[in-house]
């Protein structure tokens, strides 16, 4: 796997590069900010662009914009956005171009190295990786809670894993259940939520995440200047 790292923190940058190298992942380039990144991506065609959300010059959401630009310009390269704060809004913004090859993780996931590497691999393979914290927050919303009343506890567990971007097989493995059972859960959930039965994991992620956000939208009239 070939990776380009973009992070304004030298410590993280170097530490991550070392870690990835140790895991046999090739870090083809490292950038302290967005400058030149798109050119490098075009030139080097990495599998994944790992990018921090907050970077110079404004230290706001440069990383997010960079990731979206990258997805549009280089659909072959997946993006994994790391953030020190988890905002469901940013996850949704990121998913507006589709969930395939897109990841949004809390930055400290790198300290849970196995999970991180798995997520990185999933994204590199064209899948999705949405931080469990984002999914948990969406599920915890009081309005979402009510909308989920029709789901069983197990189904909610499955829903969470679906939203994080796991395949049916991965879900079955994590819950230690039969893959057929997992498939059944998934189809039940999709039908209960009136979502189209779709085999593609990435579309499933978008649909579920947007549904979770949408369920709140229904009871809210948000008008921004």
């Amino acid at each position: 796997m070939r990776v380009i790292l973009v992070d304004d923190s030298a410590l993280i940058r170097e530490g991550l590069a070392l870690l990835l190298a140790e895991e046999g992942i090739e870090v083809v380039a490292i950038f302290p900010d967005a400058t030149g990144v798109l050119d490098a991506v075009k030139r080097d065609q990495p599998d994944v662009l790992v990018v921090d959300v907050r970077m110079p010059p404004t230290f706001e959401t440069e990383g997010l914009e960079l990731a979206l630009q990258c997805r549009r310009a280089n659909p072959e390269t997946s993006v994994l956005v790391l953030s020190q704060h988890i905002e469901t809004r940013y996850a949704v913004e990121l998913l507006q171009e589709g969930a395939a090859g897109v990841g949004y993780l809390l930055k400290d996931r790198v300290t849970q190295i196995d999970d991180f590497l798995a997520a990185l691999q999933r994204v590199a393979d064209g899948g999705s990786a949405i931080d469990p914290l984002v999914v948990a927050r969406l599920l915890q919303r009081p309005t979402t809670n009510k909308a989920l009343d029709r789901l069983t506890a197990r189904e909610i567990e499955v829903l969470s894993l679906m939203a994080e971007g796991h395949t049916n097989a991965a879900i079955a493995a994590q819950l230690s259940i039969n893959p057929r059972t997992a498939e059944t859960h998934v189809s039940h959930i999709l039908s209960k939520l009136d979502l189209p039965p779709d085999e593609a994991t990435d579309r499933r992620v978008s649909a579920v995440i947007l549904w979770l956000r949408q369920s709140e939208r229904d009871v809210r009239n948000l008008t921004e200047g």
């Binding site: 923190s9 410590l11 140790e22 706001e60 930055k107 969406l138 009081p142 008008t223 921004e224 200047g225």
Partner: protein, 694 residues
């Protein structure tokens, strides 16, 4: 002092009533008795002209008591054969009987005679005609005296009494008003004037003492009037005018010492030491002349002052001039009248003028006192104007002082006076006819009035208005001072909040770029170490390192929580709506959000931060205390104000008590020139805040 004046006023009132009563009783008696004095003498036509009239006249004089008589005298005058049977004794007896019956009856003078008849005037106090006749030896009546009483002019005409009482009442009223105003200097003068005028009615009384008082006491009016009139026209009471008036009073007062009775038909004068008619007349002529001079002088002074007086005062001044003029005319006329022995001495146009003049004096005094009252009313209106702050100070003061040219100047530094254009104002630099009155609060110069110099004639009024204006200027100065201090305090509070916000952002940034990154990097290294340990089968070490990584993660979580509370990145990165959205997402209670900013989406960062914290704090309180099932956040913008409303359906009981988060919010909102209000009842709590927008 106050009760003393009240007693004096009560006395005046009682005196006036007594006067009126006495006047009524006396004038009733005079209709029947006492002043008849016309005697007609007739002779029988056959015997004319003859010594008879002379004899008759002689008889009158005997009858009159003005000529002593003897038998020899009678024998000589009335020779036997002519007046035989004429009984002087009888005559005398008849007159004596009349005297005995009627009291004092006497003849005074012969006024008129014409050929063919003898007519004489005499005095009888009885209204009944009397016939006295002379009898010839043949016992035939050759002449008769017809004594007939004809009413003489009353001592005071009704209108004269009325004028005196009017003057007395006017002075009493002026005294009453000044008492209420607490101005003792004039009150006693007015009381004295009232007594003097009312005493004039005493001439109606037949008692010598009261009658004499009635003739003497009114003379007090001359100096009193002089002083009052001069005071009313704001003239310094000239010493010589007062002296002349006082001299007139003295002459008038001593005159009765030189005469037994003032006029025919009047009672005896009390205290008379001699009966010298020419001295008496001379004194009265002198008194009247001096009165005329004094009053004329007053009229001239008043007329001269009228031009300089303030417009509002001019009617009073002209009235004073008129009073002096009329009185002066009357007094001069009376003086001339007194020199004429055939004059009437009482009543007539001159006496009328004197009385009218005297009656005008209290009117002038009263007008002046009322004028002062109006001035006070003007000052009171000024104070009201200034309190309501509706009127501009200069206009209000100009109105109160009745001086349209008036300008209020201020002293910014307590040292010099400046007008509105910043020009230095000094007494020396003023236009002619203008004067400057400085206004001081304690010793500090706060301002000044540039006004018509004529106002100096009324220092009390000027002083009162100046101090009211001074109060207003001082209040204005203090207001501005306080307002400036308040602005400073507000600005400094805003700066403090801004500084705190800046510090929060800085700390958040520092945590993000520093501690958080380092901890993440540390966690990375620990993970690498753990993997290394695991690859070397040092599972215990790997376990330890895993635990250490967990600790690091926990620390990162803690720091994240802190840094989020400091300054939510989303607010700066995506604005108020998404930030509030994120708050709702974290709330355990469903939150409905309705944010409509119209065209004001581009909020000032400080305002947005304040709004965010208001909503965050309110939602946190809902989650912690309200036991609610639903919360609502509304943000709207109307008329340049942002309205923020966070309500819940919980159990209420919220208070912005000291030290609470809401109190901290109140400070923060106030620093952004906003207000916050918490209302809470058993149906829930509502926090409402307004902030300026745009």
């Amino acid at each position: 002092m106050r009760s003393g004046r009240l007693i004096a006023l009560a006395f005046c009132l009682a005196f006036a009533i007594a006067m009126a009563a006495s006047a009524i009783s006396v004038s009733r008696g005079s209709d029947a008795l006492g002043v008849g004095e016309l005697l007609r003498v007739e002779t029988l036509p056959a015997e004319s002209p003859s010594p008879l009239d002379d004899h008759l006249r002689y008889a009158f004089e005997v009858f009159n008591g003005s000529r002593p008589w003897t038998q020899a005298d009678l024998d000589e005058r009335f020779s036997p054969g002519f007046a035989e049977g004429f009984g002087v004794d009888r005559l005398t007896e008849a007159s004596d009987a009349a005297i005995a019956e009627r009291g004092t009856t006497r003849f005074v003078r012969v006024l008129e005679r014409d050929p063919g008849s003898i007519r004489a005037l005499g005095v009888a106090e009885d209204g009944t005609p009397m016939v006295v006749w002379i009898q010839t030896p043949k016992n035939e009546r050759i002449g008769s005296l017809l004594l007939e009483v004809v009413p003489s002019p009353p001592r005071l005409e009704v209108w004269e009494s009325a004028l005196l009482i009017l003057a007395g009442a006017g002075f009493a009223a002026a005294a009453a008003v000044t008492t209420r105003l607490d101005r003792d200097s004039r009150t006693w003068l007015f009381v004295l004037g009232s007594v003097a005028a009312l005493c004039g009615v005493l001439v109606l009384n037949d008692g010598a003492l009261l009658y004499t008082l009635g003739r003497v006491v009114p003379a007090l009016l001359v100096p009193i009037a002089a002083v009052v009139l001069l005071d009313s026209v704001d003239a310094r009471p000239g010493r010589w005018v007062t002296l002349v008036a006082a001299a007139a009073m003295v002459l008038s007062g001593v005159a009765p010492l030189f005469r037994d009775a003032a006029l025919v038909g009047h009672p005896q004068l009390w205290g008379s030491i001699t009966d010298n008619e020419s001295a008496y007349r001379a004194l009265l002529v002198g008194a009247s002349a001096l009165t005329g001079v004094a009053m004329g002088a007053v009229a001239v002074i008043a007329a001269r002052n009228a031009g300089r007086a303030l417009k509002g005062r001019r009617p009073t001044v002209w009235l004073a001039a008129l009073a002096g003029m009329i009185w002066s005319f009357g007094a001069i006329g009376s003086a001339i009248d007194y020199t004429n022995s055939a004059g009437t001495w009482a009543g007539g146009p001159f006496s009328a003028c004197t009385l009218v003049g005297a009656a005008l004096v209290p009117a002038v005094a009263f007008a002046r006192v009322l004028g002062n009252q109006w001035d006070s009313a003007g000052i009171a209106a000024l104070v009201v104007d200034l309190e309501s702050q509706d009127a501009e100070l200069g206009i209000a003061v100009a109105r109160a002082l009745d001086d349209p040219s008036l300008v209020v100047v201020t002293s910014p530094d307590g040292q010099v006076l400046l007008d509105d254009d910043g020009n230095l104002i000094e007494s020396a630099s003023l236009a002619t006819g203008q004067a400057l009155t400085e206004i001081r609060a304690t010793t500090r110069l706060v301002g000044g009035l540039v006004h018509d110099a004529a106002l100096r004639n009324d220092p009390e009024r000027l002083k009162a208005v100046a101090s009211a204006a001074g109060l207003a200027l001082e209040v204005d100065r203090l207001n501005r001072q306080v307002s400036a201090q308040l602005d400073d305090a507000n600005a400094s509070r805003t700066r403090i909040v801004q500084a705190a916000d800046t510090a929060r952002r800085q700390v958040e940034r520092d945590l993000h770029d520093g501690a958080q990154q380092r901890l993440v990097a540390l966690g990375l290294q620990l993970q690498r170490a753990r993997r290394m340990a695991r690859s070397r089968d040092e599972s215990e070490l790997a376990h330890l390192l895993e635990n250490a990584t967990s600790e690091v993660r926990q620390s990162i979580d803690d720091i994240r929580a802190v840094s989020r509370g400091l300054q939510p990145a989303l607010l700066a990165e995506r604005g108020l709506g998404p930030a509030v959205d994120a708050l709702a997402e974290r709330s355990p209670i469903p939150v409905r959000i309705d944010i409509s900013l119209g065209g004001h989406g581009d909020l000032d960062a400080e305002i947005a931060t304040t709004m965010y914290f208001v909503i965050a704090e309110a939602l946190a309180n809902v989650a912690k205390h309200a036991n609610a099932t639903q919360a609502d956040v509304g943000v709207s913008c109307a008329n340049g104000r942002l309205n923020i409303r966070v309500s819940d359906d919980g159990r209420g009981g919220a208070r912005a008590s000291a030290g609470s988060g809401l109190e901290g919010l109140a400070d923060r909102v106030a620093a952004a020139s906003g207000t916050i209000n918490v209302s809470s009842n058993d149906r829930g709590t509502t926090v409402e805040a307004t902030l300026p927008c745009g």
